[in-house]
């Protein structure tokens, strides 16, 4: 028997809220020799669709889950095994797996599903922590987003680090009443968050506005930040899609919200009805409109960005990565050009503003 060499491919868990996923299509046929990171199949969750990339190398012997099947996380999708393993052994492995597979309990209570709350900087902030490596990473989402923007990022990074994802004030399930909407204040709030959860020094990974917040935190609190990764970041140039920012603040219907969210990605099919509903539900919470308006005023004047931190990059004594999608329709990828030589710049071809969701595997490789 060689079952040790039989490896299951199972339904991944992308983000804290994912409980099941739908197989859209297999991108490779049975009999394909997979390398680590090869695109294997497309999976759709309530929130967003994504490509599942091989976590193990090996020969794809069997496709178990068929297109359109909806399966809980951990369910068997396919089987990898070397050619010398017999079909009978593969069959036996599948039978055993299915017999022993227990779908995870659906989380009932707020506390049980991994979200936590902490008082910091005068706010109640929601966050989640994955992994417990010595290396600390804090993920900072962008304008109008929340910690779910890191659904495909947090768990992969957590293999070798303690990875925190928080909702900035005015966002997600954190306090909506802002004391100050400036990037400087948000940066101070991230440092206060680190104090509150007991992190002395962390790598900050910021997306969009969160990139500017991360950079500002490194400038204002140099001892607290050990590295920066700025993804489609604000604060590196003047241009910004102000129509998106202003439209997002004003939108109160599906019809208004959908075309806006479609600008965030290169492939508009990724914008699901659930994503649109989530955004509308967020926007309809008391205080969100005022918070978003205050934050928008803190970094743009209605047509351009007003916070430019590019000049600080030279003086920073920490490694800096800059990642962009070439088709970013919110903040142009041209802001990745002309940065100091020590900044490691990658522009991923064909992806939009939410590049960490749209090209999760590529971005994660760059972040690891």
């Amino acid at each position: 028997m060689s079952t040790a060499r039989i490896v299951p491919i199972t339904m991944p868990k992308w983000g804290l809220s994912m409980q099941e996923g739908k197989v859209v299509e297999w991108l490779v046929p049975e009999g394909t020799e997979l390398k680590l990171g090869d695109h294997v199949l497309d999976i759709e969750t309530e929130k967003i669709a994504n490509t599942f990339d091989a976590l193990d190398a090996g020969l794809l012997r069997r496709i178990v889950a068929q297109p359109d099947e909806v399966l809980p996380i951990g369910a068997l999708l396919g089987v990898l095994a070397p050619a010398e393993v017999t079909d009978a052994e593969v069959d036996e492995f599948i039978t055993e797996f299915q017999k022993n597979y227990v779908p995870p309990e659906i989380a009932e209570e707020g506390a049980a599903d991994g979200w936590k709350f902490v008082e910091a900087g005068g706010y109640r902030l929601r966050y989640s922590k994955m992994g417990d490596g010595a290396r600390n990473i804090v993920l900072i989402h962008g304008f109008g987003g929340d910690a779910d923007r890191w659904a495909f990022t947090q768990e992969p990074l957590a293999a070798s680090a303690s990875v925190y994802a928080l909702d900035l004030p005015g966002h997600g399930q954190s306090s909506k009443q802002l004391n100050d909407g400036s990037v400087k204040h948000l940066a101070a709030t991230v440092i206060a968050f680190m104090d509150a959860v007991g992190i002395d020094k962390a790598e900050l990974i910021g997306h969009s506005l969160g990139g500017a917040v991360a950079l500002q935190a490194a400038v204002d609190h140099p001892g607290r930040v050990s590295a920066l990764a700025l993804i489609a970041s604000a604060g590196l140039g003047a241009e910004i899609n102000a129509a998106y920012i202003n439209g997002f603040i004003a939108a109160d219907s599906r019809k208004e919200m959908k075309p806006l969210l479609e600008q965030l990605v290169a492939d508009p099919e990724l914008v699901t009805r659930t994503l649109i509903n989530d955004m509308l539900q967020f926007k309809r919470i008391d205080g969100v409109g005022a918070a978003l308006t205050a934050i928008a005023r803190g970094f743009q004047d209605g047509s351009q960005q007003t916070v430019n931190l590019r000049a600080h990059l030279d003086g920073l004594d920490v490694p800096v990565k800059v990642i962009w999608g070439s088709k970013d329709a919110i903040i142009p990828a041209s802001h990745a050009a002309g940065l100091p030589a020590k900044v490691k710049v990658t522009v991923l071809d064909g992806f939009g503003h939410l590049v960490q969701l749209e090209a999760a595997a590529e971005v994660n490789k760059l972040l690891l």
Partner: protein, 337 residues
């Protein structure tokens, strides 16, 4: 995710948060001060199902017990609304509305119009409706089509804990009279509800489930039934889109029409009687505005044109069942011209 509470707790939380936010919000109705589960004597006072439990201790005289005189206290609520308060008036069962039609139809619904836009009537009338409680013919009806018929009234039928909180807050902040219809069988339904205050705009349907073969439009408690039917039908290879209009007035016509333009098949599920009800109304809308998209006759699944029976077995047969909804979907999906 967010914390889970019941439909009933979500109503209580909406009332609590709006009373804290705006001192003009008052709650009035029969036994609303007490509430089942209150301390000592207060518990005996009832409050039918205890929806307003705990509010009296927090807000004192802003929670008003009224005599058993619906025509009197509904009139008082309408007048108070016209003169500056935001009353949330609880009329225990929708079946009792008959004695205050003048206050609702001729006064509340007409003030803005009759006074040339100079008067506003921000009153919410909360009321329980629907069968399933063994409460017989005078305490089990679905009379919301009557109110939907009257221009000047907004009519709300929340189907989930999330929706009931957001829609009730919206209703309280709305400057027009709102008939807020709560299905009593839904009171124990649990769901995720944010702790913060939030609103849901009127006239925006919720697409509860997406699908391509058949559109099911369902109201109130029937949304759950339709969802169960859709889940069962998915296993047979029939993909249903389930739409909950959430408000019958205003009505989100676009969402319904866009869905039928995609599926070409429509089933309307309503617990009310079939004549002059929401099922007939939606069918007419689609027949007029999406006729060329229809591939099959519209199916209506409703209660029969009879009073709600007291006999439990008959009452269960009276309410549209998951099986009847599924059968209607199969009929329209299998129709060949």
């Amino acid at each position: 995710m967010a914390r889970k509470i019941t439909y009933q707790q979500a109503i209580n939380e909406a009332l609590d948060q709006e009373m804290a936010r705006d001192e003009n919000v008052v709650v009035m109705g029969e036994d609303v001060v007490g509430g089942s589960g209150s301390d000592g004597e207060m518990d005996a006072w009832g409050g039918v199902l205890g929806v307003t439990k705990g509010l009296y201790k927090k807000y004192g005289d802003r929670i008003l017990d009224t005599p058993i005189s619906e025509s009197g206290f509904v009139g008082a609520a309408v007048g108070a609304a016209a003169s500056g308060l935001r009353p949330v008036c609880e009329l225990m069962f929708i079946d009792f509305m008959g004695v205050c039609f003048d206050q609702i139809f001729n006064q509340a619904a007409k003030f803005r119009y009759m006074f040339g836009g100079k008067a506003e009537t921000p009153v919410v009338i909360r009321t329980m409706y629907g069968a399933g409680f063994r409460a017989a013919a005078q305490h089990s009806q679905c009379l919301y089509p009557l109110f939907t018929h009257i221009p000047g009234l907004k009519v709300v039928l929340p189907s989930s804990p999330y929706d009931v909180k957001g829609l009730l807050i919206q209703a309280i902040r709305d400057n027009d009279p709102v008939i807020f219809c709560e299905h009593k069988v839904l009171y124990t339904l649990e769901g995720e509800v944010p702790e913060e205050s939030y609103t849901i705009p009127f006239g925006e349907a919720n697409v509860v489930r997406e699908g391509d073969d058949v559109t099911i439009v369902a109201f109130g408690r029937m949304v759950q039934q339709a969802n169960k039917a859709a889940a069962a039908l998915a296993k047979e290879g029939v993909s249903c889109e389930v739409i909950d209009p959430r408000t019958t007035s205003p009505l989100d016509e676009d969402t319904i029409l866009e869905s039928v333009e995609n599926t070409g098949r429509l089933v309307v599920v309503d617990e009310a009687h079939p004549r002059c009800g929401m099922a007939a109304d939606i069918s007419a809308l689609v027949a007029k505005k999406a006729f060329s998209s229809l591939k099959a006759p519209v199916e209506m699944v409703t209660a029969p044109h009879t009073p709600v029976p007291f006999n439990g077995k008959l009452e269960d047969l009276y309410v549209p069942s998951v099986e009847r909804i599924a059968a209607a979907v199969r009929a329209t999906a299998g129709y060949a011209a």
